[in-house]
């Protein structure tokens, strides 16, 4: 799944996809079979994915969607939509 999405901008991936691709890039770099230029390209992609992951975590605000029923308000569950 990450292979098919490897070309997408890091920001467009889900957190899990970005992390999975990041870890596969790390593994292929560590594997050491890439030439210098592809290594640098992989590194740059890796840094982009890393930033996207960190941004997703930093900006994450929980979304709650109610399909059925009506939720009781709970003082701890401020943001319900």
């Amino acid at each position: 799944m990450t292979q098919a999405k490897a070309g997408l901008p890091a920001e467009d991936l889900s957190f899990g996809e970005a992390l999975a691709e990041l870890e596969s890039i790390v593994a292929s770099l560590e594997d050491g079979r890439l030439e210098l230029e592809p290594s640098i390209a992989a590194y740059e992609r890796g840094v982009g994915l890393l930033r996207a992951c960190e941004a997703k975590l930093a900006d994450a605000e929980q979304r709650v969607t109610v399909l059925m029923g009506e939720l009781d308000a709970d003082e701890d569950d401020a943001e319900t939509s």
Binding site: F15, G16, L29, V47
Partner: protein, 425 residues
């Protein structure tokens, strides 16, 4: 006269006799609660058990009631153990309850166990049916009561651990009539919702009876049919519901289910930090390897001494020359003979001509010699020309710094580069 008939007794005495007789009657009785008086401050809880044709007033001392763990409710079926007694002041018959348990539970448990066996035989509980949970869910489905603690426990836990995940709630009644079809409807709705990659089926604690909807075959089959993994968080330890058995993962409480579904933010942050360090290290290794390879190449003889590069060409030139030399001599000696003969003839002829001219040539040659600029060089002067030797330099201003010039001496020449120019005005 009085010997045949028992003596009349007081009401108190009569009730005491009855009480004594009743208290010898112990029984275990199953019935439905038809009246209930559970008043704070009273030493006992009073209730009536009934069936289609009879009612039986009961009392249970508060200690025994609380120890039983049963919450009496109108309409619930209970099994009581104890003995009859009489309450003299009101002239009432009562059953004094010593043990109290939900009734029908045994029957229910048997039914549940039979269903569990049946579904197990169908393979719905096989380990290989249990799917792994997504490591990083994007949308977490939650099927539970919209009221009460469970829904908020799950939402709060997901927010604390992994706020990236959206929570999609199907709030459905999870007890009482209609609970089974509501839970099934909630699960089906969730199955159709795009992007939901794991579902939590939860409820808070309750009695065994309260748990019954989660033991229903319809709910169990709906759970088994879900296209994504289902985690149950049905707070009813130590009982395991049939829904728990067919779920992909069983957690003990709603909170535990949420914890099972979401990665912890700390773990995620640690993984990211690890990836960051490994990424930098890996690139450094790649760069080091590349540098090392370049260094290895740079120390190869090829780059140390250019002659090595040309050696193969030199060799083939040499062999070409050799074969040329081998083929030449015959040709050369033949021509040489002819040339020598021609030269002899020419000398004989030419001798006459040159002798005549020599007398005139010699003084002209001496004159020429004196005029030649080359003769001046013999006296220590030098001749400066451009690099090709075609143009004699006469003006420092006509050269530029860095230009190559040629300096001819009496014997040989120097290749020079102009360092400075001094132009005379």
């Amino acid at each position: 006269m009085a010997e045949a008939r028992p003596e009349a007794v007081s009401v108190s005495r009569a009730m005491a006799l009855a009480k004594g007789a009743l208290e010898r009657v112990s029984a275990r009785v199953v019935g439905e609660v038809t009246e209930l008086a559970d008043k704070p401050g009273y030493k006992a809880v009073y209730f009536t058990l009934g069936d289609e044709s009879a009612n039986m007033p009961c009392l249970v001392w508060r200690d025994a009631y609380e120890a039983s763990g049963v919450a009496l409710r109108l309409g619930s079926l209970v099994e009581v153990g104890g003995s009859f007694t009489a309450y003299a002041p009101k002239g009432r018959l009562q059953f004094q309850v010593r043990t109290l348990a939900p009734a029908g539970e045994g029957v229910l448990r048997l039914q549940v166990a039979a269903l569990a066996r049946r579904l197990e035989a169908e393979g719905l509980m096989r380990e290989d049916r249990k799917r792994p949970l997504p490591a990083f869910p994007r949308r977490v489905g939650l099927v539970t009561s919209p009221r009460g603690k469970a829904v908020h426990d799950v939402i709060r836990t997901l927010r604390r651990r992994y706020p990236c995940a959206e929570v999609v709630v199907a709030g459905v009644p999870v007890e009482g009539p209609g609970a089974v079809s509501s839970i099934v409807a909630g699960l089906r709705r969730m199955a159709e919702e795009p992007g939901v990659d794991v579902v939590i089926l939860a409820r808070g604690g309750g009695s065994y009876e309260d748990l019954m909807p989660f033991n229903a075959e319809e709910v169990a089959r709906a759970v088994a049919a879900m296209p994504m993994p289902v985690v149950t968080g049905i707070g009813h330890e130590p009982d395991t519901s049939v829904a728990d058995m067919v779920a992909d993962l069983r957690a003990s409480t709603p909170t535990a289910a949420a914890e099972a579904v979401a990665p912890s933010l700390d773990e995620v942050a640690a993984r990211l930090a690890g990836a960051r360090a490994r990424l930098a290290r890996a690139l450094e290794h790649v760069a080091q390897r590349a540098r090392h390879r370049v260094q290895l190449l740079a120390t190869r003889p090829l780059f140390q001494e250019a002659a090595v590069l040309l050696a193969p060409f030199g060799l083939s030139l040499d062999s070409g020359r050799e074969s040329l030399e081998r083929s030449l001599p015959g040709m050369v000696s033949a021509r040489r003979d002819r040339t020598l003969r021609a030269r002899g003839a020419m000398l004989r002829l030419g001798g006459h001509i040159t002798e005549r001219r020599a007398g005139r040539l010699a003084p002209a040659a001496a004159q020429l010699e004196a005029l030649s600029p080359l003769a001046v060089l013999g006296r220590g002067y030098a001749l400066c020309t451009d690099e090709t030797g075609a143009r004699v330099l006469t003006d420092a201003g006509a050269t530029t710094v860095g230009e190559r010039v040629k300096v001819r001496l009496r014997r040989g020449a120097l290749g020079c580069r102009v360092e400075t120019t001094e132009v005379e005005a």
